[in-house]
Symmetry: D2
Subunit: 357 residues, 4 copies
């Protein structure tokens, strides 16, 4: 259970890190969309391992193969099935964790929950699953682009390095100009140095991604449980390693704000507001202004250091990561965050089509 | 759409702030639970208006009437229908906002989305709806108590006043000893003074609630989208005025943490961890340790000050709140946060019953 | 669980036969529909007990009270909550079945499933619940009428008396001209005589209702599980006492048909077919022709005769119905069948709005 | 939309008749089931084309490839992804129907609904999709077998040839002893002769399948919309070519039955009934007796005869089937019916686990 997201535009994923393949089914994609396969692959490439010196060196081409739902280049309204084969699934690398529960990993919880687990590379709990989200998210982005909605995400913090500027004052075309995906190039350079230092220590570090959607019309989001930001929060928190979510209140603290300071004054009949502390959403419904949120990632749990833990028999043991892992996950998580935002927005776009008679 | 939460233990709510009644249906509550009606009313009383000098003075007894699903004091497995009548629905108080969009309220978005809205008291967008959540949450809490799960929430920040201690070092029996529901009585007093000052200024202020569940066994939560914390995040963000959610990482920053500092070392075969930065959840599944999270509320949007805005015709107008509103919403939101946590946990408790053959 | 129907236009019902009230929530009704309350009450009146000499004499005004979701006569897009109070809930009438399992009733199955049941009048298993379906169905019918879809149902068989004519050759304005709701008045009279005879014997008899929808455009219904006729079949079978469902193949046997005889030849670009054995649906999707189906009801299980059964302790006992029950359920079931058809069609109408980009 | 079935044990399928592959995802299968792959393949073989002289000669090995969710032979609780490659997808065979709407096929409705369709072999509307249901159904059957539930289906009617005996008086081990899958071998022989005659005429013929489940405990099925038989009805009606569904009332007419004749007298505290007209279900909940139902299939729409129709431009044209098609679909539909019954039962089995505290 729990492997489906969306009410109308639904994504269901399957697959373990070291099984034959991962994949998914998109059900509810409207018919008639001309699919840009290059855009999908480009998003996958931003997520894939081995893309730069600061990411894990697992070798995966991450080529998606579409099996259904697209005919002569267009969506047909029927479910879009797709798979991505696992090529560099070095299962032997993981035999050492077969009987050991890695700290702050899901080994113990999966084992206890199910009584069995595919321990290879974390199995289902591996972030490898997110490649499927990127495929579906890239399809969703194309639907959104047709109606003028654009999505962008970027790294806004790594360790104590944090972008000070508003998203409005950044040149977002620079996001992919550096390997850490931070559009403030000065800070980007510092982040890269920091990640490399952490990596050399065999340690890992957290970070934050800011996501932005422009061009969203008024009226997306549903009262009362499926508020647009509640659904955004859920999907972001469903990404591996995410521990925090905040929307609106850019660079200011929520709890200590005063109403007189953060109320957004409406200045025209399009709903344009003077400020945008609301993050483009009021009462759970988009208000026509930019939608933005911040997603906080904890440091990767796999360390290249010795750590204490227990094994399946309850014995105290030491463990140390093998191979090369990401020291900081946020650069590769940018397309994932974009995808989750796109999936949520497209679902609410379709839901908004049935609001009125 | 969007008025139902839960997959097995489902709550659907209805009702506007100034309609005849609000209410809901709980579907999926297991049969055989002896219902403690006093506990339900006690939770409603913590949420209800007019309970202290720092809350709105609307008069509502908030008495819940159960219409079905309970027989001779026990749940029967059939849907539990309930209503709460709106008694002090002074619709005339709201005629002045019929044609005006209040800043940072949902007036504009509802009107644009639906082409019609019940403007009285915010209609469906009013936090009055949360009374229904408290009813269902109190039923959920009783199911959880049977198996040893306890839930508590408290105000951990108002304005710049913030509890410094860990939840472990607080005496939670003091939560209801003061009107701001902060178990650190020294800080509580400061919070009250601050809220009264803000109130006198006709302004409002944000705050934060910390929620805690103890006794949750290993194995609740589903990969990959319905991770326990993702569902918790969604329900918390669905509460009126909530803008931020964080789980684990108590009193420390997520983004700047190092793996070597925050990895939770497992120390016994029950999964007990030395530290609990994970917030009791790993890979989206409860790991047997305490589950805790922080929920950040923006300041109430209704001010007792003049604000600029536009009316339905697009003219610039001034608006000022009438009557008495909450200057800070967190004291009354404590039972709501508890309820949302209980609803999420009970749903995953029931879902966990079908994990294994 | 199981008390909700629909994917977009959703109805959730609650209530037991002899509880305080029954009711429901319609979530997903588009905003802006001017509600005709008289039409709703008229449908309820067709279903209500005591309407003629051939129905049960329970006294219920069956007045629906709307609590939310309608403002100044129009739907607002928020959930429509409603209740119908149980007025003539004579619980004492049912004390004799507290410990006895009536044959072919749900007493035994509810007791075993839940370990507890509201035995009064069958509790949740009573057909009284269907009044809530009629309320929602009447709202759905109004949405459909706006776009030219009309629904009608009539009694096509009671005992061995069966309408021989096609629905096309009947004057459907005569349906309500007689108390059995059969538009072939000659056969209607025979049916009434038969029901009265059965009633005098303390026995009961089965029957059949034919349902018809005209004006449904091409394109409603979803592959592959939510085929329009599959959803119609489910909702019809969910009505108390229904045991059979057939769509298309009017008055002819399905199994013994030849393709050359029953294939529907398309004769114009609107999809009009020469014959309509398909019942207006091909591949689960409406094809623009009339949609029709037949719904078969078993005889009411409560007899005014002595029957053998067992009690809760396993002892063999005799039981005999008290008061006056329906000897044949189909006359009162006509508005229920219409409602279930309307609910299904309106849900697929809304779903069809998101089929294409 | 509409490509998922089940609430807990969920199957989502994808794939077109002549795409690269068909496949599906089973989400919600409990962990720990040892999978018998031979049983799955055996069920697929009963459904696959080219198995006998009375079926279509399309060549498909119909080999299922599992991609996830099974580890070292056991289910892990994570989603089970699988594909079946389309091997004999002779797309050229279908170029003649690119612009033509075949009578009583879904060509016209898909084209109108979506504005585009994969016309090759009927695309998504092809019964080829049901192979995925058989895979999932065979997994479901294994879960049911563990707790003593057995499922069997057989052909009970073809043309006017109909089994007269009750399922209780048949030797079900003979079902697969003949190519028509009718356990009454005398009637089976007549059916085969009839089908061959029909086939020679280039015509097609309808039929009926009876499905049976033994060993189902009391308590499966949910009030009020998800009654066990309502869900069974839906899934059966979702199978290509099914037009009718009936449960209980074996070999007798529903509408003309009297209560005194068909009420099932309970004779012991296990709920055993003297007769079983209820078909093992009362009030939508299993009562511990055998569950059985009848599923009526229309004749295959593709004829090896000339038929009139229109093309996409609205011109009248003639069409005639090419290649070899099934003259009667029921022999190959037996494993499909079994699978749909298993999927429904296993879903309600899991749902029944959360009925009580």
């Amino acid at each position: 259970m729990g492997n489906t997201i969306g009410k109308i535009f639904k994504l269901t994923t399957f697959g373990e890190s070291h099984g034959k393949a991962i994949g998914g089914i998109i059900d509810g994609c409207p018919a008639g969309l001309k699919v840009d396969f290059d855009l999908i692959q480009a998003q996958l490439d931003k997520r894939k391992p081995g893309q730069s010196e600061i990411t894990t060196q697992r070798k995966e081409s991450d080529t998606v193969e579409f099996l259904s739902g697209i005919f002569e280049g267009k969506t047909t309204g029927t479910p879009i099935g797709f798979i991505i084969k696992n090529e560099d699934a070095k299962s032997k690398d993981y035999s050492h964790i077969k009987e050991v529960y890695r700290p702050s990993h899901a080994d113990f919880t999966y084992q206890e929950k199910y009584g069995i687990r595919d321990y290879r590379g974390g199995g289902r709990s591996s972030a490898r699953e997110t490649a499927c989200r990127v495929v579906a998210g890239a399809v969703a982005q194309q639907l959104l682009q047709r109606i003028g909605v654009k999505i962008a995400a970027y790294v806004s913090a790594v360790a104590s390095m944090r972008i000070k500027k508003s998203y409005k004052d950044l040149d977002l075309s620079l996001i992919d100009s550096n390997i850490v995906r931070c559009p403030d190039t000065e800070i980007a350079n510092k982040m890269i140095v920091e990640i490399q230092k952490i990596q050399k220590d065999g340690d890992t570090i957290g970070g934050e991604i800011t996501a932005l959607a422009t061009g969203v019309p008024v009226g997306w989001g549903e009262p009362v449980f499926d508020k647009l930001h509640a659904d955004l929060g859920k999907v972001m928190l469903s990404i591996n390693a995410v521990h925090g979510f905040k929307y609106g209140f850019e660079r200011i603290d929520i709890s200590s704000s005063k109403g007189s300071e953060v109320n957004d004054i409406i200045i025209d009949s399009n709903g344009t507001t003077k400020t945008n502390f609301s993050g483009g959403i009021q009462g759970g419904i988009s208000n026509g202004n930019d939608i933005y949120c911040e997603v906080a990632f904890k440091p990767v749990a796999t360390l290249m250091q010795k750590q204490n833990t227990i094994d399946a028999a309850g014995n105290k043991v030491e463990i140390k990561g093998k191979g090369r892992h990401d020291a900081c996950v946020v650069p590769r998580a940018v397309p994932i965050v974009e995808s989750m935002m796109a999936l949520t927005l497209v679902d609410h776009y379709l839901r908004s089509r049935v609001n009125k008679i």
